[in-house]
Symmetry: C2
Subunit: 336 residues, 2 copies
């Protein structure tokens, strides 16, 4: 036990028995909500920390997604499985189902299961939840944060800005000048970074950033389709488009097909992620590889290190993205 107060002191202050405080610490359901809240508040106020050794934890790792629908969730799951299999651990999978923060039911389940740690994928914890995990000595790592996770939150990401830069430079080098972008949602830092990289490439090439060539999507196929139709119907349509992810690129493929435009002859396309399907579509997609499986492996190892009391040398790791050239990009046709 560490911290400024003992369990007994917190129990006295809350006007409950010590076993009741214990129950709250262990996420047991049989404590009245108001009592639970009072105790959580005292744990927080006193900065209570239960020190736990790694072998007091269950051989479980919690993996939480913002949403499981996205095709890239599987790449992440594979990375986590690669590490836990070696370690003889099992994975508990949860989905925050579109809400960006996680509810109390989820938290009680985690506290009751006493996992080694928690890997959050695009799922934020609010400050009170971070404190709840900290007071039980359950470490967590955020993968590919949607927002700005804060200085003291361990996080694994990718070099999104560099990816956007590389994608756009590739198109510039092919000779494109009117380059559109179908960005991901602006509330996610990763999509902002990609679009900023696009903008930096244009500006360092001496080409002004044209807001008329920018659309915002939600990372799903249909958004790429809708935004693609808009961009391709412009009187002076772009000859190339950088899409914020591969699924939006496929939506753009569909828009091009509907308008009778050929890829890459009439339109060059660069995606982002390099999902397996990027190799399988026609034409195979030039894209920025984000090493999702490796990122998940690093995040999992980081959280296990933290569980074993090893401090990572850095709390923030960004793995490199890289351009993968396939067949969806070529030089613009003469006269355009």
């Amino acid at each position: 036990m560490t911290g400024t107060a003992t369990l007994a002191e917190i129990a006295r202050e809350a006007g409950v028995s010590t076993p009741t405080v214990s129950k709250v610490l262990n996420g047991r359901a049989d404590v009245a909500p108001a009592t639970r809240e009072r105790i959580e508040e005292l744990l927080r106020r006193h900065g209570y920390r239960r020190r736990r050794s790694a072998n007091q934890a269950a051989p479980l790792l919690e993996l939480v997604f913002h949403e499981l629908e996205s095709a890239w969730a599987m790449e992440v799951i594979r990375g986590v499985e690669n590490v836990v299999r070696e370690e003889g651990l099992s994975v508990v999978l949860s989905e925050s189902s579109g809400r960006l923060s996680l509810g109390q039911t989820w938290m009680e389940g985690v506290l009751a299961r006493r996992p080694m740690g928690v890997v959050l994928v695009l799922s934020g914890l609010d400050h009170a939840q971070q404190e709840q995990l900290a007071s039980r000595d359950i470490p967590f790592v955020v993968m590919d944060p949607a927002g700005d996770p804060g200085q003291d939150v361990p996080a694994v990401g990718a070099t999104n800005w560099h990816g956007g830069l590389a994608a756009t430079r590739h198109l510039l080098e092919l000779g494109h000048r009117r380059i559109g972008v179908i960005a991901g949602p602006a509330r996610m830092m990763c999509s902002r970074a990609r679009t900023d990289g696009y903008r930096a490439a244009l500006e360092t090439a001496g080409i002004g950033f044209d807001p008329g060539l920018v659309r915002e999507g939600d990372f799903h196929h249909e958004a790429g389709h809708v935004a693609g139709l808009e961009l391709l119907r412009l009187p002076d349509r772009p000859t190339a488009v950088f899409t914020g992810n591969d699924l939006q690129a496929l939506g753009l493929y569909e828009a091009a097909r509907e308008l009778g435009l050929r890829i890459p002859e009439d339109l060059s396309v660069v995606g982002f992620d390099d999902l397996p399907l990027a190799r399988w579509v026609g034409p195979p997609l030039t894209t920025v590889r984000q090493p999702l499986t490796e990122m998940a492996e690093v995040a999992t190892r980081m959280v296990l290190d933290l569980a074993r009391g090893r401090k990572p040398s850095t709390l923030r790791v960004d793995l490199a993205t890289s351009l993968v050239e396939r067949s969806s990009t070529t030089r613009p046709r003469a006269g355009r």
Copy 2:
């Protein structure tokens, strides 16, 4: 407690203490392997059954995949999550990593976690493992069995044979006569059933089954590519191909592109599964929809019913497949 022997009798016969038998029942690691094996053997021989009430189980469901790489695993996970979210349960995800049966480490983890039940996806349990779960009153359901799970194993599948029949009839109705098949692995009952449906459609249409137009794949993209090149390079190549799943269809798309054949003008293609990507590829894929998410929902509800002592009305449920017509099929060109 039910069964022909009590814990104490089994302990006496094994020459160990009752708590040691308890430890084995609960998957605890601190029992010597030889002792564990002797106790498991006695539990089996006596048909020992611990009766457990649903609230003695942890609020966990085990979900086990043969392999997580396949794109359709995500459809299954979504179905399981849909049910467990309503029920306030969490999912423990495991992968048997390409081995078709599961090891002892996995089993000990399950016994220690005491889940509500186990959903196995294309992962077989051997007879001893089935007995291990039964003796702890942990129910399991097999989804889309790779092999023949046996009469008394609860299982959820799809009408694979009807799917193969519908796919092939669709091609016959368009006027195709030389129809190839890139089947899935013959060791999986689901792929055998699909190919048999293909054969039945041909034969009831009075067209002989031609083994020269049949290839076997492993359900992955590359197998479709390799088999596709073989079929499309035949002197009298097929005008249409039914692929055992969508990923193999995409491999066939790639083979057609390489040989300069257009889909559907030069080659009609029908897939199987209807993964999200079937809508996104160019041209959008005509395919047989297998309701993977619904199948996972049914399997999950079935195992939870069993956990609560409700006997399902039937131990085997096959959900209907249905043909989804998109743009990868058309009439064969005149003269072919």
